[in-house]
Structure formats: structure tokens, C-alpha cells
């Protein structure tokens, strides 16, 4: 039987390389949980075996049940009728089966019925589900809502909401954006007020809410009347059935299976989650780490699906008496896609492990504090890993979602005219990919998020260590290329800093971030190439291409071309 886990050698490669001893040890309370739960692991090897087995279940489910339904889900889409949203029949079936398979609470604690899996494993599952049906990820991925309640809510709230997420009885929604508060969430207006007994109620509008018809909504609302910025916002949990009206759903280019709702809150009773005023500045930002990783996984899954379609088509399609796969122009595109896909995965699963570690160290600190144990060292550790997460998360989001657009574009191109037709899967994939570099922060905003880490060169020490390292055989040459890219980066950084022109810096940020990205990914691929001969090809293609791109990035920064932004009005004259 087809299996998106077992039959994907690159996923196997990464799975086998994971180093999760520390993360799993923390998550399993040093394997104490196995005394209480039959399905809890007894040691690290057992935990890995559990993850492998469950990912096999996900791979089987994705390949044989979810993927075959995807075309119908896309065609039928989620529907809105008289204020009620219904999923496409295939989506409904998918959700039932994901629930039967116990996969709707993968990262939630066992105490509430979850699997207590590391974030990294959840991301692998998300990649496979997205490969089968990208629109399903939007609902599957909302178990993050449960996780937000777990992290910031109180025990009563955890007991109230989490079991429903784990059984699949509840789906969730994260209600952040409003008509006038998209990328700029500080402008959120939806009002949260208290009655005489101190009970909270929500009143106002939300727009573009994925699965806004969900049972449990986590809502960003203005709890401090009279405030205008992010410090007046808090988060609340409420039930959709308690007066949340879905006014309409959007008619979208892609991810048709996922309903995007406009919501009206008519004095909906709600519970404050966590502390007042931390809604945006702490909780939403934390949620964003995971949401951005989720979208990166979605993009990666779409890329894998598109690549597979293109490869099969290229081999089958005969023109001029030969399979088009044998034409250099086509095989080169396929290689580019494959290399992009694999470099995406290297970046992504490193990022996932960083986020995983960040979350687990946070948990450990909380636990130690409760036990009255010292945490100084851990806090130091957390600072470092948080800085890394601050780099790796937006970098993954930026690179993987842009890659998904390029890969689906090329996959459609390889199909020629037929790819433009609805009969072929690649058409849907190209539409589905298009949202990934927009929602959960556009690519442009990922660059803004990355800029600080990049201009502070936060990986300098690691890069310098790598530069001093000896690599085997031909990899020395590639290491030299990375060193050259680093030279270009330092040079450009100096140039931009010296320019002291904020507008110029903002535009040059994209090129600087890309330069930094080549280094981060290049060294990851070199490490892999040290271990695995086939990966030498991947590192070689990626690093040499990146060197050429780096020269272009450097050239555009240093040519001063962006100074014409001063004349934007003249250039864009009507």
C-alpha cells in the first residue's frame, strides 16, 4: 500500500538523523509517563519507535485515503448556507478518520487524551497531510489552538477544552485578523468587555478566519478600552455556538476545502486566557512561531506533491519520439525542483527541532520554578534557542513558501498545456501554493522579522567555526564557495550600514536576508553531504547556484539601484 512516509526516502533520511534525546526526555518526564499510560514510551528508543510507527499510520492515511479525495474536496469546497458552514464530504471524512486515528491531539498532553508528541513529529505529519490535501492542513493544524490554551490557559480551561480537541470533537479557529487589522494586528478593534460580575463578552467583527466555524475559537480582542496599540489586547477562548455568526465565507483561488470566514461576535461569552494585555505581545507572537512552521510544512507538502506529478508526467510524456524527461531543459528543471525540495526539508526540520527545543526548555523552566529549583543556566539556554527560533522560523516560512510557488510553477510548466487544465492535479497544487507566502505573515513581513537577526549576524560564531572545519573530498570546494558568499554578505552588510538610509536598508533587506539564507542552508547541506554520498549532489547544486545568486544579490545591493525609491512617485506616475 502506498505510504507517504515509508516511500519518501528524504523523510526517512531526516527522521533517522533527528537528535531528540533532550526534547523527548523533557516531554516524557524522564519516561515516568509510561507508568500511567500504556502508549507512553519506556525509553528513548521506544519513543522513536512510537514516532516511526505513528508516522507510518499518517503516511498510509495520507496516501490512500486523504489524497484520493483531494480533487473532490477542491471541486466541492466548503459551503456556506444560512449562516451554517459545511465541509466538503471528503473533508468531513478526512476529519473523522484523523480522529479515529487519534491524530487530532498529536502535541497535546496524554492527560487530556493527546499523544504528547514532539513538535518535530507533528510537523512531519503536517507535511504528509498537506501533500495529500493542502486544505486539510488548515483544519488539522488548528490543534495548535488547543496547544495555546494548554500553554497560557489555566488548568480549568485545559480540562474544559483540550479533551474535545484530542478526540476530534472540537475543531478550532484562531481569530486574529479584522477588516482593518491584517498584517498590522495592533489595530485590532474587536471589543472584550466585562459585566458587573466580571464575566467577559466579545463584540465585533473578524475577517479571513480560517475555520471560523470551528467549535472553539481563540480570539484576539481589545480588553483595555481606550487603548490603540498592541498592549491593549488580550486573548479569549469562546465557543462558536455561543453567538458567533458566520456572515459569509470567502470564494478563494485555492485551499477550497478550508472555509475562510467572516465572523460577527454578538456579545459572546468568553474566558480570558492568560494575563490581560499580553494577548498580542506575548501569546500571539508565540502562536505565530508554530503557525508559521505549520504553513511552511504545508508549502513543503504541496512542493512534494507537485514534484511527484511533474516527474511522473515527464517520464510518461513522449514528444519527438522520446520521453520529455530525457530533454536536458526538462531534466534540469526536475533536478532544480528536487534540490529545492531537499534543501527546504533540511532547513525546515532543523527549524522544527529548534522550535521544539525552545518550547521544551520553556516547559522545563516552568517545572523547575514550581519545584523551587535553580533555572539560571536554562534561562541562558532559552535565550540562545529563542534567538535561533527567531531566525529559523521566518527563514523557513520565507524560503519554503516561495519555493512552493516556484516548484508548482515549474511542475505546471513541465505538463505543458495539459497542466493548465483542471483534469491534472498540478493545477490545484499551483493554486493551493499561492496562499502560503501570504498568510501567517507575508514573505515581505518574514523579511522584516528576519532583518534583526541578519544584521546582527547571530550565526557568526557558528559560521566561523564551519569555515575553520575540514570537509571531505570535493566538499572543500563547496566550503570555499560558502566562504565566498559570507565575504559578499559581510561586504554588503557594511555597505548598507554605512548608507544610513532607512528606505534603502528596507529594500536591500531582501537581498541581505537571502545571502544569509544561503549560508544557513549551505552549511546544513554540507553536513548532510559529509554523511551521505547522494547528498553531495544536492549540496553541490545548491551551493553553486547560491554562489551565482549571491553575486547577483550583492550586485543589486551595491549598485545603488534602490536609490530610485526616492523617485517612486515619478516612476509610478499615472
Amino acid at each position: 500500500m502506498a505510504n507517504f512516509f515509508l516511500e519518501n526516502p528524504d523523510l526517512q533520511f531526516h527522521f533517522n538523523r533527528f537528535k531528540l534525546e533532550e526534547i523527548v526526555g523533557i516531554a516524557e518526564d524522564d519516561y515516568e509517563q509510561s507508568r500511567t499510560y500504556r502508549y507512553a514510551p519506556v525509553n528513548y528508543a521506544d519513543a522513536i519507535e512510537n514516532y516511526r510507527k505513528v508516522l507510518e499510520v499518517v503516511g498510509e492515511l495520507a496516501a490512500n485515503r486523504i489524497a484520493p479525495r483531494a480533487a473532490d474536496v477542491d471541486h466541492e469546497g466548503a459551503q456556506w448556507h444560512d449562516g451554517k458552514v459545511s465541509y466538503a464530504a471528503g473533508t468531513q471524512k478526512n476529519l473523522e478518520e484523523l480522529s479515529q486515528a487519534d491524530l487530532m491531539g498529536m502535541i497535546l498532553p496524554r492527560k487530556y487524551g493527546g499523544l504528547n508528541f514532539p513538535f518535530t513529529m507533528y510537523m512531519m505529519a503536517t507535511e504528509m497531510i498537506s501533500r495529500a490535501d493542502a486544505s486539510l492542513m488548515n483544519i488539522f493544524g488548528l490543534q495548535d489552538i488547543g496547544d495555546t490554551i494548554r500553554k497560557f490557559g489555566n488548568e480549568a480551561q485545559r480540562e474544559e477544552f483540550l479533551p474535545g480537541f484530542c478526540t476530534g470533537e472540537y475543531t478550532g479557529a484562531m481569530a486574529l485578523t479584522e477588516p482593518d487589522a491584517g498584517s498590522d494586528l495592533q489595530a485590532v478593534k474587536l471589543q472584550a468587555y466585562q459585566n458587573a460580575e466580571g464575566k467577559w463578552f466579545l463584540k465585533g467583527m473578524k475577517r479571513f478566519i480560517t475555520n471560523g466555524n470551528g467549535d472553539v475559537l481563540v480570539v484576539l480582542a481589545r480588553s483595555e478600552s481606550g487603548t490603540k496599540d498592541g498592549r491593549g489586547l488580550s486573548i479569549f477562548a469562546c465557543y462558536g455556538r455561543d453567538g458567533v455568526v458566520v456572515r459569509r465565507i470567502e470564494n478563494k483561488l485555492g485551499i477550497h476545502g478550508s472555509p475562510t470566514c467572516e465572523l460577527q461576535f454578538n456579545d459572546v461569552p468568553a474566558q480570558l486566557v492568560g494575563s490581560r494585555k499580553f494577548g498580542l505581545i506575548k501569546y500571539t507572537i508565540d502562536l505565530m512561531y508554530r503557525a508559521r512552521m505549520g504553513v511552511s510544512a504545508q508549502a513543503l507538502g504541496i512542493s512534494q506533491a507537485a514534484y511527484e506529478e511533474a516527474l511522473v508526467y515527464a517520464k510518461d510524456r513522449v514528444q519527438f519520439g522520446k520521453s520529455i524527461y530525457t530533454f536536458p531543459a526538462v531534466s534540469n528543471m526536475l533536478i532544480e525542483m528536487r534540490v529545492t525540495l531537499e534543501m527546504n526539508r533540511s532547513l525546515f526540520y532543523r527549524a522544527a527541532q529548534v522550535v521544539d527545543r525552545k518550547e521544551k526548555i520553556e516547559e522545563l523552566i516552568e517545572k523547575r520554578k514550581e519545584e523551587g529549583k535553580p533555572v539560571t543556566e536554562l534561562v541562558q539556554d532559552l535565550r540562545q534557542v529563542t534567538a535561533m527560533a527567531g531566525l529559523m522560523t521566518p527563514l523557513s516560512k520565507y524560503i519554503l513558501t516561495e519555493s512552493a510557488n516556484k516548484i508548482t510553477y515549474d511542475a505546471l510548466q513541465i505538463h505543458g498545456g495539459t497542466g493548465y487544465m483542471k483534469e491534472f492535479r498540478v493545477e490545484r497544487l499551483a493554486r493551493d501554493a499561492r496562499i502560503t507566502n501570504i498568510y501567517e505573515g507575508t514573505s515581505q513581513l518574514q523579511i522584516v522579522a528576519l532583518y534583526g537577526s541578519v544584521i546582527n549576524d547571530i550565526m557568526r560564531a557558528e559560521f566561523e567555526k564551519n569555515e575553520a572545519r575540514e570537509y571531505r573530498g570535493g566538499l572543500t570546494q563547496l566550503a570555499a564557495s560558502l566562504k565566498e558568499i559570507r565575504g559578499l554578505f559581510i561586504d554588503c552588510l557594511r555597505y548598507v550600514n554605512e548608507k544610513k538610509d532607512k528606505t534603502y536598508q528596507e529594500v536591500a533587506a531582501k537581498d541581505l536576508v537571502e545571502l544569509y539564507g544561503y549560508l544557513v542552508i549551505g552549511y546544513l547541506l554540507l553536513d548532510e553531504a559529509e554523511e551521505n554520498d547522494r547528498k553531495v549532489f544536492i549540496a553541490n547544486r545548491y551551493i553553486l547556484t547560491s554562489l551565482a545568486s549571491a553575486r547577483r544579490n550583492a550586485e543589486s545591493i551595491k549598485s545603488g539601484v534602490f536609490t530610485d525609491l526616492l523617485h517612486a512617485d515619478s516612476i509610478l506616475q499615472v
Partner: protein
Amino acid sequence: MYHSIVLVKQVPDTANITGNVMQDDGTVNRSKLPAIFNPEDRVALEMALRIKDQFGGKITVMTMGPPRASDILRECLYMGADEGVLISDRKFAGADTLATSYVLSEAIRKEGSYDFIFAGRQAIDGDTAQVGPQTCEKLGIPQITYLEEIQKVEGKTLTAKRKIEGGYEVVRCTLPVLVTVIKDAVEPRPFSAKRVMAFKGAKSLMEIEKMAEGNSLLYVDQLRHEFEARQLFIRTLTMDDLKLDADRCGVHGSPTKVYKVESVVLAGGDREMIEPTKTGLGKLVDKLMEDHILG
């Protein structure tokens, strides 16, 4: 509360036959083919699970096969079965449907009371659809074959829809009953992740023996007790355990001998143009009758 017994079989994946897997005696060299859970047996298990979901009770899954058939018993546990029983003995090898149904019926008798026996209509390797009915005959209980839908279970009565040529019929009978189910009756549920983790280490006696073989510090009896205590022991029955008549088991008890197996490919050959006129159509009908396709 009902006790259901589900009969399952591990079969070679006949959809993917490659290379030289047929042996001289006409049987299949199973070791050369990937082994899978017979699809209709999985549907049978789903039926049993739905009965359990609705009324409670217990599900015992049984398979007769080589030691590696434990794989599908574990899969049954992953789906929700309560217990797996492996019926395995070298002396069972080469059994036809008669010998198989003898062994199965004796194993079922040993189980004591039960309300339902579910089985797939047929296995994809032999396609005989005989094992279910033959087992049932030996047990002397009613049977419903080609079951499409369970309509009602009430006390000791079952009302069900069975598929017949050109339609269906609704039948009613008393429990205990053996039913064989068709592929589209219900869609088998996916594995439960929790059960996969809980039962991944379940082992049959043969598997435990194998574990002990490679390590002189391990003793079979001790291991068996450990597995039993952790509810990870797949009960294993041999010919001796069942006190069976050796002449009715395996090759000895099997009058059916496979003479020859061949792969028949139906491919179009000649092509003939027929004019779209009345005379042309007449000729076409004549031709089809001549080839015994019509009439």
C-alpha cells in the same frame, strides 16, 4: 454485549505479482511476495468493531498461517480488536479449504461461546469463498454470505442485507451466526495511533521463541509470562494444543491439489470495421452470437 470472532488471513499481495513466485507444485512462494491483510477480512473486522461500538462486548481475531501472520493480528489490535489468536503449525502447511475450515472450526469450538463469526467473503490469493461457509457447516450454525449491511441486531436476532445477483435480499436469523462480508460493505477504520503504540510489541509464541533463540539469557516461559502480564501476548495454538486429527490437517487433509496456475491476459487482437447501418448492426449481432458473447 456480543462476543465476535473474526477470521482473518494474511495473503500475498496478488495485485503486485512479480518475478518467479509460482512454485512447481502450483502453489505460491509466499516469501517472495509482500504479505498483506486480506482486504475483505479487514472489512469483516470493521463490521465486528461497529457491533462492539454500538453494543459493547469483545472481539477475538483468529488467523491460521505461518508465524509471520502475527503481523496482521497486530494490525487487528491497532484497529481495535481485543485479542489475537495465531493458529500455527508446520503440519498445517499446504492446507486447502477443507483442511483449513477443519482447523478453524476446532479452534472456534475451543473458544467457547460467541455470538458472531465475521469473515471476509474470500481471500485474494485463492478466491474460493469456501472457508467461511465450510467452517460454518462444521460448527452447525446459520450463515449469511455476501453480507452488505447489518440492518438490525436485537437480542439474539440479526437482520441483514445480502448481495445477490442483480440486487439484494434481506434475511433474518438467530445468533450465533457466521457472516461473510463483501468489500464495499463498510470502510475499515484507520489504525489508532494510541493502539499502535500500545500493541506494537505484541508477540506470538513463535516470535518469543525467536527472541529467546538469539539470546541465552532469555527463557521462553519467562518471556511468555512477561508478555502475558503486559497484555502483549498473542495467543498461539498448535495442532497439539487443539488436539487435532493429523490426517485432516495440512497437505494430508487436503484433497484439492493445484494442477497449474497461469496468468491469462485478455488482450484485443483483430479489429473489424462495422458499418453504422442496419445491415452492419445485424452482422455485429450475428458475430457476437457466434462467439457466444450474446445469446
